[in-house]
Symmetry: C2
Subunit: 200 residues, 2 copies
DNA sequence: TTGAAAACTTGCCAAATGGCAAGAATTAAT
DNA sequence: ATTAATTCTTGCCATTTGGCAAGTTTTCAA
């Protein structure tokens, strides 16, 4: 009933909010496949985000520009995540950032109108939407607190320890601005980190 | 049917998600009054946030400590707002910040269990909850982007222009860390800002 | 009302971070 | 395979921001 290639998205949804196979089928029916090539734009600043993506495979980043015109990475996305500017998508306001692929990407998507329809027709799916929202809020808040409570070194250490794959796919200068420093400073942090790793 | 003193919270709810007088009545029935004195703690770090507050009158701040032990204001609350650590409240995890009153405050509150009950018994109220969540997410994101895209001077100027009452109730050092600078730097920013106001 | 505490401003200095540029290393494209 | 482009590291220097402390003003409480 559910096509085999949709197994990843089914698994993702039912992990977040378990539901019957029939319910799951009626929901994932609306998700359609899409592929992007490296460096494609998934969302551009100034446009209202119209599409809710599930990333099956690949890496992306969200970024904007600081007051001096430098690119700043605001989010990093990897496999098995929702990729969407939830502010823009749900509030129907222009996005303030770009979302761009860093590798070829394999995604499943649903449009705003379709998602509204699914929420209306399958109320049990609303709970999934709510949990994605709560989780995203918590992540954003955690990131904000991490910027305050931790040093850039700690943020670097945590990222490399919890998500080492990112370092194989994302240029360091993009990781640098995600961590909140320049590429020059990240280079120095890496030198320190490597030194300390040997001493411990 | 609805007691007169609940007019502010009724107005707040129906502005966000309009509903019939009967629906409104069945919802606000669960909100109970509470007052705090200046400097009371509404939430402490390490505890799970159990209460969802509507602030009818007063000022509060949320704060945490940075990696050097300095207090950092993470949010400022004034009248007619929801006051709650939504991450902690909905994910049932310990809060990472303190919420403290800055003036005497008049609030209406509902507990986590009661709110779950209301969401279950009055499904139309879920939409209100969802919109508070979306708005809070959008605010948090906007704040994050403002920290990147704008200078501290701009953040100061916007705050004083959009929310001048805050400056009458909140010490500048708390506003300073909210804006992302030390009190020393804010003092210099204020001097510059006053100078430019005259020249323009 | 008066004294104490807290808040705010300002000057001086130190430290941290960024800008820039050069060179090395890696990656991509023809 | 070769060349070009991008990425990464490093040194040097400039700038910014913060720390500290003193002095002033304001707020709070007895």
């Amino acid at each position: 009933m559910i096509p085999a290639e949709k197994a990843p998205i089914c698994e993702f949804i039912s992990k977040i909010y378990p539901m019957s196979q029939e319910q799951l089928a009626s929901v994932v029916e609306y998700f359609k496949p899409r592929e992007f090539q490296k460096n494609d734009f998934v969302l551009e600043e100034g446009r209202v985000c119209q599409i809710y993506y599930f990333m099956e495979e690949g890496f992306m980043r969200a970024y904007t520009y600081d007051h001096d015109g430098n690119e700043v990475t605001t989010a990093l996305y990897s496999s098995r995540q929702i990729v969407c500017d939830l502010s823009s998508f749900f509030k129907r306001i222009p996005a303030q950032e770009y979302i761009q692929t860093l590798t070829d990407c394999k995604l499943w998507y649903i449009t705003f109108e379709e998602l509204q329809h699914v929420f209306h027709a399958m109320p049990y799916f609303r709970e999934f939407g709510r949990m994605i929202l709560v989780n995203s809020y918590a992540q954003l808040k955690q990131r904000m607190l991490s910027m305050l409570q931790e040093t850039a070194e700690t943020r670097y250490a945590k990222l490399i320890e919890t998500n080492p794959m990112i370092f194989q796919k994302v240029p360091l200068k993009m990781i640098a601005s995600y961590i909140g420093v320049t590429d020059t400073s990240l280079s120095r942090i890496r030198k320190e980190y490597a030194k300390n790793r040997n001493n411990n």
